[in-house]
Symmetry: C2
Subunit: 419 residues, 2 copies
């Protein structure tokens, strides 16, 4: 069947500042920041009485914060007790799932208006602890005991892509360079500097300290230097997304009540979700994610759109290679052809298909359970024409997409948005 | 609105044997046991090709088993890759939420057939570790650091009920005695002995060892003895549910496809979910759960039924006091009046309102994330007339209910079933 029984609109979206907030802020504080920001984006206002349920996406407050059962806690903080407050989990796609289930619930007729929360507070643990927690999203029986944490798994995927399609480390670096160019224009981003700016400030610091100044001709030289250490070949530090605390909040409403909140709803016309075996050794192909292809197939089918119809997209760049694979899995480019398009600037803000105008997970930050909802926040802003600083795209965005990946591709959720 | 856009049927249900299975069985093994058992209960057969999605309920494989991202793993084991495989969490109500979201998803038109999984493997940790993990479903910032784990929290709730309504420790004990009488008739239960049988075997063992045989006149004497140690006043060991490994599986289908699987579908005509502040100190009332009352209100409203229409119910007896409170919150008895009904035998298998014919969490066991789905397994069997041994009720069950509570009442999910 795979058709929504009624139309669902995104009527407001907001987020907390992404960054290192613990211990000043924990999940409750981050969620309230996101809630208030989203409330401020609803044209005609919204309050708790208007809302039927609180859908919470979170990867593992269990392991990060020793707090399970996050749904009722988040609902209680914003006056939604005793309404339904389920939590959804699919690794880094957790709030993509929360969004999808909220779309489904409104379509079903059970709820009219839902607040979707994505939240994660990661820096309560040291970096090694974070790596350990994230590794539980891979196969704990086979991959984790072998020492294969996520940089290693994505390094394997990148190597496979390089081997099969001739993708180079410069191709990977172009993704990070572009996303930092976007993140510098996002006041909510964790890192708001371009890689060129970071290179220049590193040079200035060395000069000030009276040390030798490296002969870096451009960002690529900088990214190939010791300043960008190898993490898991071929992935260096700047190929990896950030460890982040943050939250995002979305307000969804059924077609017949959306007009109460805004005259310019954004319709969610397609939703898709796919899955794959957790272990890479159970996959047929290491250069593509079957979960992404399946999620995209469902979303395109539901909306009736094709890849060429999508004007902008937020994709899940947990590692630079993941953005390249996403562009191919979503059907924007043929397999092995995305790197050429990236090289030609097509995915930049002023290109024909702007990707990750928010700065992506690479520069905006990646509070894992909040990322899927934060994707939708950027799309909301770009479609409304309210993206901050200099990152608003120069054309009217009528059709957009978000792509939220979990683990090493075990889960993927894709949504399509139309005005 | 709160009406389902199309009807949803339960067409098959099964479960693993509940018990201590680790390390012989882990989540994947338990889930496969449940899947195969449920498949065997579908009249016309079912296979993976018929199924659109795998909805997984699990409380915290993160903390119990250091494995997150359980959805895709469970889906992959039964041939459901690359279909959607979200995980749902609401403490001990996790698979009640999975069931509810599956009902909603089928009603929405997005899916026609869904496999609902509930799974938890707790005995990988020692008992103290389990207590610690469960405590993360309470408020980790205020309750947990004060040493208030669940027996303590429910002890507080029991004391409040005793203070307000004159409930006695014998009233609590009657719940456990009844549930063990039921559990002895359930081949899937973790404990299959009545408390009287346990008392007699204890006596026999003492006699064999040449020790003094206590002068226990009945189960109450036994339950008040050192053989039933105090855990958290007024709750003794036999007021507490079990630490259990287990899984349950449900197959749901839309009205227009249900007939493919069976001529006698069981319709899920009501679903409700409520929430409450996690901390007891944030609640207005310690003798009732607002989340239960809200969930029941929604489910009754959706189905059009009233408490008097319900013929049997599986309620969430994580502690004996929880069953008493549930009977009141669901509207079967006035506040403070349930204990009198229990004393009169109304909730026994041959009473007017059989409660927990499965043996309940007390005797069948409580693998927390599997419990909500296991509730529905018992209702399926009772409505089909296939409950094992001597526990099938003697009348035709046309209307039934399940009540699945999370934490100390932070979440509740209620479902209504009709033939």
């Amino acid at each position: 069947m795979a058709k929504l029984a009624r139309k669902v609109a995104l009527v407001g979206a907001g987020m907390s500042k992404f960054g290192r907030h613990f211990p000043n802020k924990r999940n409750p504080d981050l969620w309230i920041d996101a809630w208030l920001d989203a409330v401020s984006k609803v044209d005609n206002g919204i309050n708790s009485k208007d809302i039927d349920a609180c859908y919470v996406g979170n990867y593992s407050s269990d392991l990060f914060n020793h707090q399970g059962h996050l749904g009722p806690q988040m609902a209680n903080l914003v006056g939604l007790t005793p309404k339904p407050a389920p939590r959804f989990e699919g690794a880094c796609a957790s709030s993509g799932i929360a969004l999808r289930q909220a779309v489904i619930a409104i379509a079903s007729g059970v709820h009219d208006v839902i607040a979707v929360s994505g939240v994660e507070c990661m820096t309560e643990l040291p970096t090694t602890g974070v790596t350990d927690v994230l590794a539980t999203a891979s196969d704990s029986l086979f991959e984790y005991p072998a020492g294969a944490t996520f940089p290693g798994l994505y390094g394997t995927l990148a190597s496979a892509h390089m081997h099969k399609y001739g993708t180079t480390i410069e191709d990977l670096m172009r993704v990070g360079i572009k996303n930092h160019e976007n993140g510098r224009e996002n006041p909510y981003a964790q890192m708001q500097q371009s890689i060129k700016e970071m290179m220049e400030s590193k040079k200035a610091r060395l000069e000030k300290e009276g040390k030798d100044i490296p002969d870096w001709k451009d960002e690529f030289d900088f990214l190939k230097s010791r300043s960008n250490p190898m993490i898991a070949y071929p992935l260096r530090l700047f190929d990896c997304s950030l460890i982040t605390d943050g939250a995002a909040c979305l307000f969804l409403a059924a077609d017949n009540v959306a007009k109460k909140f805004t005259d310019t709803p954004i319709w969610i016309t397609g939703t898709g979700q796919g899955s794959a075996a957790l272990s890479l050794h159970d996959r047929d192909d290491l250069t593509s994610f079957i979960a992404s292809r399946e999620a995209a197939r469902q979303a395109y089918q539901m909306s009736g759109l094709k890849p060429k119809d999508i004007q902008i997209c937020e994709v899940h760049d947990c590692f630079t290679i993941a953005e390249i694979v996403a562009l191919e899995d979503l059907g924007f480019y043929e397999r092995g052809k995305a790197v050429e398009a990236i090289k030609n600037g097509e995915t930049k803000r002023d290109g024909v298909l702007p990707i990750n105008t928010s700065g992506g997970l690479k520069s905006k930050g990646h509070p894992v359970g909040a990322t899927g909802a934060a994707h939708a926040v950027e799309i909301f802003k770009q479609m409304r024409g309210i993206a901050e600083r200099n990152r608003q795209v120069k054309f009217d965005v009528e059709k957009a997409m978000t792509h939220n990946l979990g683990g090493s591709g075990g889960t993927c959720v894709v949504h399509i948005y139309e005005k």
